[in-house]
């Protein structure tokens, strides 16, 4: 019902497209008449004035009316705009999908607004009902448009070019000459020439003489359809990835190992149709992590290389393999990729409690918070006796102390690591049931210890330890030693079975676009008519079916080649060789021009 008329090719030039011949050849059914009236209307939607009033009709008609609206170009345009507008908040507001901690920060900063925005799903824009509704409608609209058009294009591909119009002079480009050669020879030469240029040709005869009709550039519409179908393919790929894929992250400190089990992840998102048994059973051991940084110039401190030297086991029983994982250079195990996503420092400390027992010995992961990798974190020793111990503070990889101010890190590499810690004693509230962040200490049931170092006033009430240094806690609560610094690497593990489909679809989308925007669809007609004086008039005329594609050169060259083959007879002064006069001298501009020209084109001859 909505078939026949192109909706989404930009630039199907109206003037040229809607000539009489098109109507018969390509647009069967009532629309052709409607569109002939409608002038340059390419949309299948009702005209604006009529579309405002919902007809008082039965359910079926209402549904039909809604369908026509949905598949109309105006609605498609509106939906495209809505889609782009709807995406904007997703880039301006923090998104749970991208960084949940930023959403929490936003909540703390905007106590009244955040819940309202959350109700509107503005922190999950791309998962939200309204964003989904927009793209669903858009895709329904697209399908509603593609299917009829594919059908129409299929018919056009199998059909033949339309009959030649009676009066070729009315076409945008027209060339003519006279010849004494027989009509059959002229016609054959013309057809051969056009066929040689890979035009699809058909010949015919009517009261005005014989003609060749040729068309080329069908791939434009093919490309257009492929492009839109490819968009559907991408949607399918995204859905497949959503249901059958998984992604997770795990932080691994040098010397430690991670195995791909649900329990092994710091966080893991699995598609609805993925179970724990679907995770490939590989293990990765981080042997060493190295980073190098720019050490001079205005980009000082910028990272230059990251290398995570790992040993990995594709299955628990397979042979270990040494792999250097880098950014842009993941490990692939059975379609699952392991990416190097982040890195940071883990100070290695030994904590002894009041009884002299070593209650903690090992690396503690700290999170980098600035460009010079000042890292924050906490050390939790709940089982220390007589009281639980906790430390909260910073690691400065390259600490510089300026008298009178707090020490600060001036370079991201660990050249002079210093640990600055506030010490607490008491109950760490770790059994309270609520899960705690490993990077912060719950000090609500703890007391801050006085650890002021008289020899080092810069530290304030905090311990300041270089590598190898120890500090004794007051009241015989124990001691802490800063043994050194290890690095950790964060690995992202992702599996997305939709990827090949997405890639293939994307490739088709680009190819389709190139065809759809780059190929010119045009028609060329050659008409041979007897002139009474024994000569024949050969006319060649062309029509663009896409904007700005008038085949001037093609027509001129074809005419010149034919003239050379057929020996030109001296040109008579037949009056019809003059330019038609119906053009209105007062035409205001090209846009109007087009319309005028089209309307003034009478529907002559050309009975196919």
């Amino acid at each position: 019902m909505t078939a026949g008329i192109p909706r989404f090719t930009e630039a199907e030039s109206v003037t040229e497209q809607q000539t009489d011949t098109d109507q018969q050849a390509e647009a069967p059914g009532p629309e052709s008449a409607a569109d002939f009236e409608g002038g340059d209307r390419l949309s299948t939607a009702p005209r604006p004035e009529s579309s405002l009033a919902v007809p008082r009709l039965g359910t079926w008609e209402l549904l039909r009316w809604m369908w026509r609206q949905l598949t109309s170009m105006r609605i498609a345009l509106t939906l495209l705009f809505l889609l782009s507008v709807a995406a904007i908040p997703g880039s301006l507001l923090p998104q749970r999908e991208i960084d949940p901690s930023k959403v929490l920060q936003f909540y703390l900063a905007h106590k009244t607004w955040a819940p309202i925005l959350d109700k509107l799903q503005l922190f999950d824009v791309f998962e939200s009902v309204w964003f989904g509704a927009i793209y669903c409608l858009l895709f329904i609209s697209l399908v509603g448009c593609i299917l009829p058009r594919s059908l129409a294009h299929f018919r056009a591909m199998r059909g033949r070019p339309p009959a030649a119009p009676r009066n070729l002079k009315r076409l945008p480009v027209h060339a003519s000459f006279r010849t004494a050669a027989p009509a059959e020879q002229a016609l054959a030469a013309a057809q051969k020439r056009l066929k040689g240029r890979r035009f699809r040709t058909v010949t015919g005869a009517d009261a005005g003489g014989t003609w060749v009709s040729a068309e080329k550039g069908y791939l434009r519409e093919t490309g257009n359809l492929i492009f839109h179908l490819a968009l559907l393919g991408i949607l399918v790929a995204v859905a497949i990835g959503h249901f059958f894929g998984f992604k997770g992250a795990r932080l691994v400190t040098e010397g430690n190992q991670f195995c791909d089990t649900v329990a092994g992840y710091d966080n893991l998102t699995m598609g609805q149709l993925v179970g724990p048994e679907d995770l490939p059973p590989f293990c990765i051991h981080l042997d060493k992590f190295t980073a190098s940084y720019q050490d001079s110039g205005d980009q000082m401190g910028q990272p230059r290389t990251f290398d995570a030297y790992t040993t990995y086991y594709a299955t628990p029983t397979s042979k270990p393999k040494k792999v250097d994982v880098r950014v842009n250079d993941p490990i692939t195990v059975n379609g699952t990729n392991v990416f190097l996503e982040g890195h940071g420092y883990a100070p290695v400390v030994t904590v002894k409690d009041g009884t002299g027992q070593v209650v903690y010995d090992g690396p503690v992961t700290f999170l980098g918070i600035d460009a010079n990798f000042t890292s924050s974190g906490s050390i939790k020793v709940p089982d220390a006796k007589p009281k639980g111990l906790g430390f909260q503070g910073y690691l400065l990889p390259t600490a510089v102390t300026v008298p009178g101010s707090m020490p600060a890190s001036v370079f991201p590499a660990a050249q002079n690591p210093v640990l600055i810690l506030a010490a607490y004693a008491g109950d760490l509230s770790m059994d309270a049931g609520e899960s705690q962040s490993v990077y912060t200490l719950d000090t609500s049931h703890m007391t801050r210890l006085q650890v002021k170092d008289k020899t080092n006033p810069a530290g304030g009430n905090a311990l300041m330890l270089s590598v190898g240094q120890s500090a004794t806690l007051p009241s015989g609560l124990g001691s802490i030693t800063f043994d050194g610094v290890k690095q950790w690497a964060q690995f992202n593990i992702a599996y997305d079975p939709g990827q090949p489909i997405a890639l293939g679809s994307a490739a088709f989308a680009v190819l389709g676009l190139v065809g759809s925007l780059g190929i010119r669809r045009r028609r060329i007609w050659v008409r041979v008519s007897e002139q009474g004086d024994g000569t024949r008039l050969i006319e060649v005329a062309g029509l663009a079916r896409t904007e700005g594609a008038t085949p001037t050169t093609e027509v001129t060259e074809a005419a010149e080649t034919l003239a050379a083959q057929l020996t030109v007879a001296p040109s008579g002064s037949a009056p019809e060789e003059r330019v038609p006069e119906e053009r209105d001298p007062a035409e205001p501009g090209p846009a109007e021009n087009d319309k005028q020209q089209r309307k003034s084109t009478p529907r002559t001859g050309a009975s196919a």
Binding site: L80, L83, A87, S91, Q294, Q302, V568, P570, E587, P590
Partner: protein
Amino acid sequence: MINENLAHYSNLFIALALVAYAFAFFAYCAEWAFGSRSRIGAKAGAVGRSDAAVAGASAAAGEHTTVSVGSSGVSVLTRTAQEEAEPTIAGDSVRAEIGGRFAVLATFIGFGLHAAGVVSRGLAVHRVPWANMYEFSCAAALAMAFAYVVLLTTGRKVRWLGLPVTFIVLLTLGLAYTVLYTDAEELVPALHSYWLYIHVTAAVLSTGAFGVATVATMLYMLKAAAEEGKLPRLHGVLERVPSSGMLDRTAYRVIAFIFPLWTFAVIAGAIWAEKAWGRYWGWDPKETWSFIVWVIYAAYLHARATHGWKGRAAAWIALLAFLCVMFNYFGVNTLLTGHHSYAGL
């Protein structure tokens, strides 16, 4: 390692290019200011009208009917827009013509220096010279100047593009040189990928071409208003700008040509993202805004085929799309945090 010497020369070339472009810009200004109403258009019309029957063909409207009889005895009749019939900015003023020719010369010199600057930067750092905002701005401006220079050398009458193009190139390059400048250095690990060559090159070219299309679109808006009798003050100048139909077509052609490349740039970015971060699309601000730009240019292309959206409405969409291109570049890089925040912006 970085070749400091070459990097130094690169900066020098860019500075000299700025000077040359500035000369070109002022010369174009002179051309516009001194230009007078052209009689060329009228003459071209007269040629058509020599055949009495063509009395109706309106040269001023950009649609033009010509009849030519070749030596082969073939008479050709065309009703398409004739670029030859378009007016020129200089019109009949000799002073303006001299200004215009000097401007073109200065543009070529500026382009040469600009290209030398970008190339020597690339040689200095042993990679494509568009890996940070300074380099990207220089390269995008070069792409834009290149598009204009190519049009000039193909013998088309596109000198009307000169003033706006040099203005934008000057602005971009000046901003790059003063605000965005960063020393020639190696790359951050995130950029160690051959996708830098593919993805960013496509993005540079697209951005430059969208800029050219925007110039044509803006002129189209002005010219279309002038053709309706609005903007009487600018009438004298706008008379010498090509017809609105021609400007509109130029904008459309550039966008239709470059839209597939922009699509490719986004897809190449997605492939790179998959390789680097494990997902091909994650609604990072840069991705989101590239998507928005893509959707709006898609809307433009659709609008051109929709009743009631042609002409000015479509032109507004194209301008909106370019605003988004600019935000995607400057806004996203400086205001929003995401995966595309790199060294020195």
